[in-house]
């Protein structure tokens, strides 16, 4: 008994989502009037440092977002082989219908030949 509520451990993806949320909130702050005014009031050295930090925040957002998109992209790519198989199988079935048509045509042609032979046999 620790006396505290046991929370389930965070998964790496949850941590990434939380971090992304914090970074986005920080980026939103950079667009406020207050922040714009406060950066203008800084010494040039600190203005430069703040700007570089801002760029690092934006880069981190892009990297985390890309990582998330990449993980889904990988799942999409993993499914592509199966999807191709499914598409080809349906196409094959359609081809199968086509060959049934051809077979029926051959049967029809054969019957025509039989039709010509039968009267000869009956003479």
């Amino acid at each position: 008994m620790t006396g505290t509520t046991d929370l389930p451990p965070l998964k790496p993806q949850d941590i990434a989502d939380l971090t992304l949320g914090q970074l986005r909130a920080l980026r939103d702050r950079y667009q406020t009037l207050e922040w714009q005014e406060s950066i203008e009031a800084l010494a040039p050295e600190n203005q430069n440092r703040a700007a570089l930090q801002w760029m690092s925040v934006q880069n981190a957002i892009l990297k985390l977002e890309n990582a998330k998109l990449t993980s889904i992209r990988n799942k999409l790519v993993r499914n592509e082989k199966d999807l191709r198989k499914a598409r080809n199988a349906v196409k094959k079935t359609v081809k199968g219908l086509e060959s049934t048509t051809k077979t029926l045509n051959v049967v029809g042609d054969f019957l025509t030949v039989v039709g010509r032979i039968v009267p000869l046999l009956m003479v």
Binding site: Y30, E65, K91, G108
Partner: protein, 315 residues
Amino acid sequence: MVQAAMVSIVRRYFPAAQGRVRAGAICMIVVLGGCADQKLYQAAAFADTAIVFEDSLPAIIDQALAVSVQADSLQRVGARKFLRRPQRGPVLREADRLLVERAAIFEQAKAHGVLLREYFVAIKTLATTEQATGLSQSMNGVVGRMDKLSAQINGSGFSAAGDTIAKLIDQSVNFTVANIKAGALRQSLDRHGKKVDRSLAVQHAFISVLRKQMAADLGNVRKPAYRNNVVKPFVDDGNLPNDWWKKRLELLTTSPDLRAVIAAETAARRVRHAFLALAVNELNAATLGSIVSELDNIVGIAETVKTLQNKEAKP
């Protein structure tokens, strides 16, 4: 009433769409009316709807990339004046590298959409295939030849039997063709349904991530616009512009870009549900109708975005 509404939704969509949407609409109306080989019509209608959905995705993905670049540019431009000259090049290069990486991911997602589309086209071909029409004609041809053959054989018994067979086959040709196709469709759904469903589920997840990223990017992009057009004029002395409240309303409500991706997310979920329903033989007109209305929504929003972009482009 429902049929009329559905027809009007689809008709509204027709001018921007191609012939296959018309075919889909016709199928859907037939589904509503109820017909003998309903399963095939439903499959064709579903495939048509899913094809239109897959066709609408590239524009939404492109728009998401445009918003990403817009949001990123806003950050780079805002920080630029505080960056030293030698720092600017590397900052821009790193940003470009990350955005190019994103563009490549988006292209792969589009390619996956093309693959899903091809599967739906194959399903549609199976359900409405002309080969099947050929099959019907061939069967009729065989019947005709049997008839001729029987006439050439002496003995009325055979001839009469031939006539009866001919009539029976003639009547059941369409039924048989429908059954062959329905059987092939069932087999395909049984065999590959899970795999296709998995792809649709991942595609839905991808669009959900796009929606979240787009919401964050647009929220950020709109902040300076809100600050300059709403907060600043209000805080400053002097009269407010006449359209001040309109700007405020526009910037406080969901942007058309975001509404388009939200509609796409909903449509992706519904396409997946409709596919599952088709696989278990429970697809109904209401399910298809809800996708059509979502697609109609996407097209409507896309038109609004285009109009807004055209307005912005005009000097």
